[in-house]
């Protein structure tokens, strides 16, 4: 499902952010990506969904060679991946419902399907009562659940989460983790980047440890 072969990524002339990384994640796996700040967790995720270029190596996601994609066909990769960020990246001038529906509008779905799928996704994350609220009116945990609903609404086979519990307390973090585990049970491959030891202990999944751009244990 996801394979990296000797990937090297540099920012400027400093030491590489990803230093000869090779790893493999199977279909339907739940993987934690961990390590200290600057270890390369976010960079790996960005490389996987084509947001960052890389200097050397090969990246295969769902059989797509990421390095060969250009601006014109990058959407084919990104439509098979749901991405969740620590800062949620919600549009503050759109309601909860509109934020989730937005992810389907870009894929040219018809209005009826959009409405139905959005409603379903919000139900799955327990946010139907807040569908008309705007993101600033929600708590951090609620905003992250909106982001998860947006990521899962197109039923992508892969979900990448970059520190999704970084801004949340432990109780809410656990709820969010459970949502990811539910998505995983439904067949999605999850790559969950976190530096929280509590989350790693709570979720009994494979852990890939990074340090200074290298995989130190997998």
């Amino acid at each position: 499902m996801i394979q990296l072969f000797n990937v090297i990524k540099k920012y400027g002339s400093g030491s590489p952010a990803l230093d000869d990384i090779s790893l493999k994640i199977e279909r339907g796996e739940f993987v934690f990506l961990t390590g200290p700040s600057g270890a390369g967790k976010t960079t790996i995720l960005k490389v996987l969904f084509g947001w960052e270029d890389f200097e050397e190596g090969q990246v295969l996601v769902q059989g797509i060679n990421v390095g060969k994609l250009n601006a014109g066909n990058m959407h084919t990769l990104r439509r098979s991946i749901g991405v969740i960020f620590q800062d949620y990246k919600l549009l503050t001038n759109k309601t909860v419902f509109e934020n989730v529906a937005f992810a389907q509008e870009v894929t040219n779905r018809d209005r009826k399907t959009i409405k139905f799928k959005t409603w379903e996704a919000l139900k799955n994350v327990g946010l139907t009562p807040k569908k008309d609220s705007f993101p600033p009116q929600l708590s951090g945990g609620e905003q992250q659940r909106v982001a998860i609903a947006r990521a899962m609404v197109n039923a992508p086979p892969i979900i990448l989460a970059d520190e999704p519990t970084g801004n949340l307390d432990q109780e809410i973090s656990l709820e969010i983790l459970k949502l990811f585990e539910e998505l995983n049970r439904n067949g999605a491959t999850i790559v969950f980047a976190t530096h929280s030891q509590d989350i790693l202990k709570l979720g009994n999944h494979r852990v890939i440890v990074l340090s200074r751009g290298k995989v130190v244990s997998s």
Binding site: K46, A71, K89, F102, A103, V106, T107
Partner: protein
């Protein structure tokens, strides 16, 4: 073809949704465009009316041929034949010695309140010749004046040669000055409008970034922004021209009579129809180009990664 129409329809729906969601930014852009187009429109109104004013002065230039007191009927006939055979002559008016004296006495009496009585008539008879409108009207007057001033029975000709020469230079200067000012003004306004639209797009960089993140195609991202830019240009120019139209009809109803007394026969003009269309079209085009450049540049930055 169908997919292109489908994409445009989706783009249009997204544009309307974007305008609603960002109503304040949209309104600010529209008002800025309206003000810019308004400045250019006012300039055009001044330009057209000044041009009309100069043309109406130009129209009043006529050639006066003064006749010798002892001119024979044959010489007069010869002169009249010359006027008739010149295709550029519009009309000829004969002013007899008595008529000239009467007109002079009346005008003097109006000015000073005194009745002139010299006991003789010092004024010559004359012909007032008006010429048809043409590009080289003043040149034709000057050529014809030279032709007839040596004819027998002609005392002298007058058409304000030095004044016309100065007036022509003034007209050329006015037109060049106005055109240069108009070009500079247009350039400045293009920059203002395009920067306004660019700022409105930059304020929504997060939205563009998110669209790309969740798998939107470059066209899907661009089309609503391009349509919004065009819509901003269209609304701004229509708002501005509508307001100017109202102000124009008010000014015309208030000041047309005064204008006519300054320049006889001159009508206080609005911007001509072709220029109205050009203004609206240019505004829409600037909106489109500015939006295209801004989205393209921002997407290039994101795609460089």
């Amino acid at each position: 073809m169908n997919s292109a129409i489908h994409a445009l329809l989706i783009g249009f729906r997204a544009t309307i949704a974007n305008v609603r969601a960002n109503a304040q930014t949209f309104l600010i852009s529209v008002v800025t465009i309206a003000i810019s187009i308004g400045i250019l429109g006012l300039f055009l109104i001044i330009f057209f009316n000044l041009n009309g004013f100069l043309a109406s002065w130009n129209q009043q230039v006529q050639l006066i041929t003064y006749l010798k007191d002892d001119i024979s009927p044959a010489q007069k006939n010869n002169l009249e034949d010359l006027f008739k055979t010149n295709s550029r002559v519009q009309s000829t008016e004969e002013v007899s010695k008595d008529q000239a004296w009467q007109e002079f006495r009346l005008s003097q009496a109006e000015r000073s309140g005194l009745e002139l009585d010299l006991g003789f008539n010092p004024l010559p008879a004359s012909y007032k010749i008006r010429f048809k409108m043409s590009d080289n009207r003043l040149l034709h007057i000057s050529e014809f004046a030279e032709q007839i001033q040596n004819e027998p029975g002609v005392e002298s000709v007058e058409y304000g040669k030095s004044w016309i020469s100065r007036f022509e230079k003034f007209m050329v200067f006015c037109r060049v000055f106005l055109m240069a000012t108009g070009a500079l003004l247009s350039f400045g306004l293009i920059l203002i409008i395009s920067n306004t639209i660019r700022l409105s797009i930059y304020s929504r960089q997060d939205e563009i970034e998110l669209m790309l993140l969740i798998g939107a195609t470059p066209h899907f991202v661009k089309i609503p922004f391009l349509m919004e830019g065009m819509l901003q240009g269209l609304c701004g120019s229509l708002l501005s021209l509508g307001l100017m139209g109202v102000i124009y009809y008010y000014l015309k109803s208030e000041f047309q009579t005064s204008m006519e007394s300054i320049a006889r026969g001159m009508d206080f003009q609005f911007i001509s129809e072709p220029f109205l269309l050009i203004l609206v079209g240019a505004s829409v085009l600037i909106g489109l180009v500015a939006s295209y450049i801004s989205t393209y540049q921002y997407m290039q930055v994101l795609n460089k990664r």
